[in-house]
């Protein structure tokens, strides 16, 4: 394909969009909705997986002792924990230190809550050597009589995992429906484009234009629709994501993934999806239409 032809195709593609601007805008809008919903679901899953991984990768747990255990008894418990296999670190965290940590959060309530009866138990931050032995190590620590509970990651992980699966299941249905709607709208937009240019197409055929040449501007039209929808979707999704991310980051630090870090991946994914839908949507209409000849093209 020569540069002349490429220029011609791109020019004609833009021209088609402008001539059928309302339908083109409708196609873009539907695709944008579809991509934002899809992208939102994917980003949610991505964040959940990221959070799961970060939970899984934390090789330290918090061991809480019964409220009745005194600091001197806690020291003995600490030695027992240190003797458990796979434990490489055991840092004592007194009830006073715990209360102090929450002093800022509790504010004026601190005095009322902590002055007379400190509600925080004695605890230990325990570091493990081998994460694959997580379950057995936790069970051994739990078997120490003074140990009340262990800050366990498995429950949180399970909740996150279930949530991710539910979103994914619901998302697939929505995305499939919207995907079909997008294809339908794009193919109709291209169909209208072809119809409005049927006269030119009949002339093109009569002077010996190949089907590829006739097809190209309409494929480019579909690609442009997909491309614009992809770019707009990226920025809209990015803006919404950034707002949500700032809120979530304020509550649970370092859990989510910054949009800056995944911008190009999101953009790439959207562009590929948009172009794919654009090409498929266009091809559906073009195929039917190119089989017509001569007067049938004009009479269509």
């Amino acid at each position: 394909m020569s540069m002349n032809s490429l220029n011609y195709f791109i020019k004609e593609g833009f021209k088609n969009i402008w001539v059928n601007r309302i339908m083109s805008a409708a196609s873009m809008l539907v695709m944008i909705c579809c991509m934002i919903l899809t992208g939102g679901a994917v980003l949610f899953s991505y964040n959940v997986n990221h959070a799961l991984k970060s939970i899984e990768n934390r090789n330290s747990i918090t061991v809480f002792l019964y409220k009745e255990v005194t600091p001197s008894q806690a020291m003995n418990v600490g030695k027992k924990i240190e003797n458990v296999d796979n434990v490489i670190g055991c840092e004592y965290y007194s009830s006073g230190q715990a209360a102090e940590k929450y002093k800022d959060v509790l504010g004026s309530l601190y005095d009322a809550v902590c002055e007379e009866d400190n509600p925080f138990p004695e605890s230990f931050h325990v570091t493990m050597k081998d994460l694959s032995l997580y379950e057995s190590t936790v069970n051994k620590i739990k078997s120490i009589p003074e140990v009340d509970s262990v800050g366990d990651r498995s429950e949180t992980a399970q909740k996150l995992s279930n949530l991710s699966k539910t979103i994914a299941r619901g998302g697939i249905g929505v995305v499939c429906s919207l995907g079909l709607v997008s294809l339908f709208i794009i193919s109709n937009t291209i169909r209208i484009s072809m119809h409005s240019r049927r006269f030119e197409i009949s002339i093109m055929k009569s002077v010996g234009a190949t089907n590829g040449f006739i097809r190209a501007p309409f494929l480019i039209e579909g690609i442009i629709i997909g491309l614009v929808a992809a770019i707009v979707s990226t920025f809209v999704l990015g803006s919404v994501y950034n707002v949500l991310w700032e809120v979530i980051e304020g509550i649970v630090p370092f859990v989510g993934v910054s949009f800056k870090n995944i911008f190009w991946r999101v953009m790439g994914g959207f562009v590929a999806t948009g172009m794919f839908f654009g090409v498929i949507g266009s091809s559906i209409s073009i195929r039917r239409y190119l089989s017509k000849e001569g007067g049938d093209v004009v009479a269509w």
Binding site: Y8, M204, S206, V207, G208, A209, N211, F213, E293, G294
Partner: protein, 227 residues
């Protein structure tokens, strides 16, 4: 060389547009194809441009059988033909230049070649002064000249004109056929379908083929008779 060998085209059972047609047209000939409406003239052209397939028989152009031609080769066959339509088929929103250049664009011609060739062809058909005019501002005769220029611009070896004078005044019709005859003198084969007998009579010396009910009913070459 165009050869129709026992060509039949049936659109439905017992409706034969062409019925065992045998016809040879040599390179450089000017042939009027005449006959009443519904006689099969348009089908004859559609078979020639491979818009339609014959039900039986064989069509050869320069010894190449159209029946054996692959679909993807059809555009290249059409590039050897220039087609002029009764309804002009010019794009009203484009200028005269753009209409003619359009035919070169679609076969992938270079912009430099288009800039050189289009004015030359417009000059041939007498439209050199109207290159920048919108087609919508032209008369019927001028629009048909644009159609002819478009048919000529890719330098085809034959011109197929389907009732080219059907929508224009008689005086302009004569001018147009005169133009076609001049093009024919340069060696281009002209096949002109018409039902306007006055034109056929005016331009004597050309071959006349008459099709009626799908059959070849008269061929001035075979009968030795020329108008």
């Amino acid at each position: 060389m165009i050869e129709f060998k026992d060509v039949t085209k049936e659109y439905a059972q017992d409706i034969k547009a062409l019925d065992h047609l045998n016809l040879n047209i040599s390179d450089g000939e000017f042939v009027f194809v005449v006959g009443p409406s519904g006689s099969g003239k348009s089908t004859f052209l559609k078979l020639l441009t491979k818009e339609e397939e014959p039900t039986s028989g064989e069509i050869l152009i320069n010894d190449v059988s159209l029946g054996k031609m692959k679909k993807r080769k059809i555009p290249y066959l059409r590039r050897t033909m220039g087609i002029v339509f009764q309804d002009f088929r010019v794009i009203e929103k484009m200028t005269v230049f753009e209409n003619v250049a359009f035919a070169m664009h679609v076969i992938g011609a270079r912009a430099r070649d288009i800039r050189k060739r289009v004015p030359y062809v417009l000059n041939l058909v007498g439209l050199s002064g109207k290159a920048r005019r919108k087609v919508s501002e032209l008369s019927g005769g001028e629009k048909q000249r644009v159609g002819l220029a478009r048919a000529l611009v890719n330098n085809p070896s034959m011109i197929i004109a389907d009732e080219p004078t059907g929508n224009i005044d008689p005086s302009l019709s004569y001018e147009l056929v005169d133009l076609l005859s001049q093009i024919n003198k340069c060696g281009t084969t002209i096949i002109m379908v018409t039902h306007d007998i006055s034109i056929v009579k005016k331009f004597s010396g050309f071959r006349i083929v008459e099709i009626s009910n799908g059959k070849l009913t008269k061929d001035s070459e075979l009968s030795g008779e020329k108008q």
